[in-house]
């Protein structure tokens, strides 16, 4: 085919075909990623809270 040996044709079309299949499988398996992005955005607390202080600093009863 195309004036090439069969092995050459098999390799230069076969390996790219494997990559195409890999891409399609990846796209299929990751079909929920967009929804998860949206869910994670929603899960983030609005305002994010105060960043001040560490464990003890935040637990200071407002004195620090």
């Amino acid at each position: 085919m195309f004036g090439l040996p069969a092995a050459t044709v098999a390799i230069i079309f076969g390996i790219p075909a494997i990559w195409v299949i890999y891409t399609l499988v990846f796209v299929y398996l990751s079909r929920g990623w967009k929804a998860e992005d949206v869910a994670e955005d929603r899960a983030r607390p609005p305002g994010g809270g105060d960043e001040s202080g560490g464990t003890t600093a935040s637990a200071n009863g407002g004195t620090a």
């Binding site: 004036g3 230069i12 796209v27 607390p45 994010g48 105060d50 009863g61």
Partner: protein, 715 residues
């Protein structure tokens, strides 16, 4: 001036124009300059990734290889076609998520945060800078040679023009300019290469006819085993050729920065399709053109010019200009990415990290972020940050470490930077929007116990781990805790357990309290009230808290007062789903998350809170101390913060295609916990201070320090 030169002039002006257009966005902040504000969509991400990974090699080296080796050279293309999707599927989403959670701005910085060790950056950054330096030099030289070849101007001027344009738009617009120019360059490369391929096929009468003609020169050139036939095949070279451009992509910092700049983690999915599509069209073309050059240009002196000479032979003059622009695009797209990365690594990962810790970016008009100390650095930071007073009452925050080398590696001025970083995070609206997750670089806080041993709390930005409690249940530890700092937490838990054993009264005391039961009744309707919150008893005695104080202020007269702070307590069941599973069949792992009822910050506790059940009024009274209740995080907000933290913790270990389910343990919502602290105030002859000592682990926070005038007396 020939038409090819005009095409190049238009091309250069367009690239510079993109640099100017991205000026505003690129200089907005450090993330804008280094990562384009994490705003890039799938098409730009994919084509930028591909074009920056394909240098002038595709127009020069690939054709040369095919001209001399025949179809054997296509082994390189076989791996290259899958390099983009492999990179995006393995690293893309994970690197995008974690780099934001960890606050990483460069690939090497990401590595240091992901696998906490400053040595990763100390070793990787110099290697990367050295290698990229030579790589970018070759690309500059190739750009100069290419321009000289096309326009005929002297090499020195050609080099100056090529480098000048690249430097101009790269430093003007930062990553965004690099990404958009790479995107345009990828399209130019694709058009140019396909044009050459089509022209070549027309010139030789089709692919089959061309192959038959090549076969007459040497039949082995049509095989995948090399010009000397199967008997002399080099399998090692073949395997290397496939791997170098497939998995090789995964280690290139100037390529992987694309992942961190994606608009969303899920962009990797769509980008993978663009990448594979681009590769299928573009990558085999120069190799095939190179093979066919054997027919069109059988006496070519320099095989590296095979693609260029074929284009000059088979294309009309105006098309050659586009092809020349394509060659320059291939060179420049790699050169600009390398230039930006080498500058970034040198400034961010080396100079800023280990040598100087100020606002380096201001030198080039960019507001680079304040360096946030690395977890391991808090060994140093912890020593210098909290105990503001030394033995002689001097300010230890400016104390010079004994070991100069260590100071350099750990970064000087971490204290000032840590404080500045915290202030910046407070002021930065992005961190508020993202709930602090973006700022959530793990950091570890160290405290000195009264017995002199160090005590550590791993703080991952907007959350903390509270270590050590007699109730620690190894089985309840989520897998995510095996991430950084886990060993220290375990060590601490064991040391705390040992300490507990030495106190016979504690077990009896804990026996008197009852554990928070799961059946506390209905949750109140009020978003800020709770039913029977648990008031924990301190594990640190007043004497120990005073000892902590006196270690900081020798000879001080002080008094300790027990205070409590309200926390929401969420017990979450975290399950992960495997590939092809829509729901988890596993029992999952339990995670105790405490959310500060005042600040809204969440932390993961390695224990289930235990204490005395008190009335809801005590909880409400503590909340009232903080003024306007409308400013406090509500129950639902605390719940979201707890879930977000649990998800962020687990996502570190997420594998390809794995999903995460988070649900309340036993279906119960949030409960209230009153966490104990000691507020110690006192003074010695020179200083007066107030220190807050954590009632659970004796870590401490200096609330106030004042230098007393000589006439002042003890309180």
């Amino acid at each position: 001036v020939n038409i090819e030169t005009w095409f190049l002039v238009i091309y250069f002006v367009a690239m510079a124009g993109i640099g100017v257009a991205t000026l505003k966005m690129g200089n907005r902040d450090s993330e804008g300059f280094l990562l384009g504000g994490r705003s890039l969509g799938p098409a730009v991400t994919a084509l930028r990734l591909q074009s920056s990974s394909m240098s002038g090699y595709m127009f020069l080296g690939a054709g040369s290889l095919a001209y001399t080796k025949g179809y054997f050279s296509l082994w390189y293309a076989m791996g290259d076609i899958g390099g983009g999707v492999l990179n995006l599927s393995i690293l893309g989403r994970r690197m995008r998520k974690l780099s934001q959670i960890l606050g990483s701005l460069t690939s090497i910085e990401y590595l240091e945060h992901r696998y906490p060790s400053r040595w990763i950056r100390a070793i990787a950054a110099p290697i990367a800078v050295a290698c990229i330096f030579f790589y970018v030099m070759t690309q500059f030289i190739a750009g100069g040679r290419g321009l000289e070849m096309v326009t005929g101007i002297p090499y020195a001027w050609a080099l100056l023009i090529a480098v000048g344009v690249i430097v101009f738009y790269t430093f003007l617009g930062g990553y965004l300019a690099v990404a958009y120019t790479d995107f345009v360059q990828a399209i130019i490369m694709l058009i140019g290469m396909l044009w050459i391929l089509i022209g070549t096929m027309q010139a030789i009468g089709g692919w089959t006819a061309g192959n038959e003609a090549v076969g007459q020169i040497n039949p082995n050139l049509l095989t995948m085993w090399g010009p000397d036939g199967f008997e002399s095949v080099q399998w090692g070279v073949i395997i290397g050729a496939v791997l170098v451009f497939s998995i090789g992509y995964l280690g290139w910092p100037h390529v992987n920065v694309s992942h961190m700049a994606m608009k969303r983690p899920s962009v990797a999915r769509t980008a993978s399709m663009y990448a594979t599509g681009f590769n299928l069209l573009f990558i085999p073309a120069p190799y095939i053109v190179g093979v066919m050059a054997l027919i069109l240009l059988p006496t070519l002196d320099n095989p590296e010019l095979a693609v260029f000479q074929v284009a000059d032979t088979v294309l009309p003059d105006f098309a050659v200009g586009i092809v020349m622009a394509g060659i320059m695009a291939a060179i420049m797209s790699t050169a600009d990415a390398l230039l930006l990365q080498s500058g970034t690594i040198a400034s961010q990962d080396l100079f800023r990290r280990f040598i100087k810790t100020g606002h380096v970016g201001q030198a080039v008009g960019v507001d680079l972020p304040v360096h946030r100390p690395h977890p391991r650095d808090h060994r140093l930071l912890g020593r210098r940050q909290r105990p503001a007073l030394g033995r002689r009452g001097r300010d230890l925050r400016h104390h010079r470490p004994r070991r100069r080398l260590r100071a350099r590696l750990c970064g000087r001025g971490l204290v000032e930077e840590g404080e500045r970083a915290r202030r910046d995070r407070l002021d930065d609206p992005r961190h508020r929007v993202l709930g602090g997750l973006a700022a959530g670089r793990p950091r570890r806080q160290h405290g000195h116990r009264p017995d002199g041993r160090r005590n550590r709390v791993l703080d991952t930005g907007d959350h903390h781990r509270v270590p050590g409690h007699a109730e620690v249940s190894p089985g309840a530890r989520p897998r995510a805790r095996r991430a950084s700092g886990d060993r220290e937490d375990r060590c601490h838990s064991r040391s705390y357990a040992r300490r507990t054993e030495r106190r016979p009264g504690r077990a009896a005391a804990e026996g008197r309290v009852r554990r928070m039961s799961a059946d506390l009744g209905a949750e109140p309707e009020d978003e800020l009230s709770v039913v029977e919150p648990v008031r924990m008893d301190p594990h640190i005695t007043a004497a120990e808290a005073l000892a902590v104080f006196r270690r900081k202020l020798p000879g001080a007269v002080a008094e300790a007062r027990q205070v409590h702070h309200p926390f929401w307590w969420a017990v979450l069941r975290v399950r992960t789903r495997r590939l092809l599973k829509r729901s988890s069949q596993r029992p999952g792992q339990s995670m105790n998350v405490l959310v500060n009822a005042v600040s809204g910050r969440a932390m993961i506790a390695d224990f289930a809170p235990v204490g005395t059940a008190v009335t809801g009024q005590q909880w409400s009274a503590l909340l009232d101390e903080h003024g306007d209740r409308s400013r406090l995080p509500s129950r639902s907000e605390a719940d979201r913060a707890a879930r977000a933290l649990a998800r962020a913790e687990v996502v570190r270990t997420v594998k390809l295609g794995m999903g995460i389910d988070i649900s309340p343990e036993n279906g119960h919502g949030l409960r209230g916990v009153l966490k104990p602290n000691w507020l110690v105030s006192g003074a010695n002859a020179k200083h007066s201070a107030t220190i807050l000592v954590d009632g659970l682990d004796s870590s401490h926070f200096i609330v106030r320090v004042e230098r007393l005038s000589p006439s002042s007396s003890h309180p």
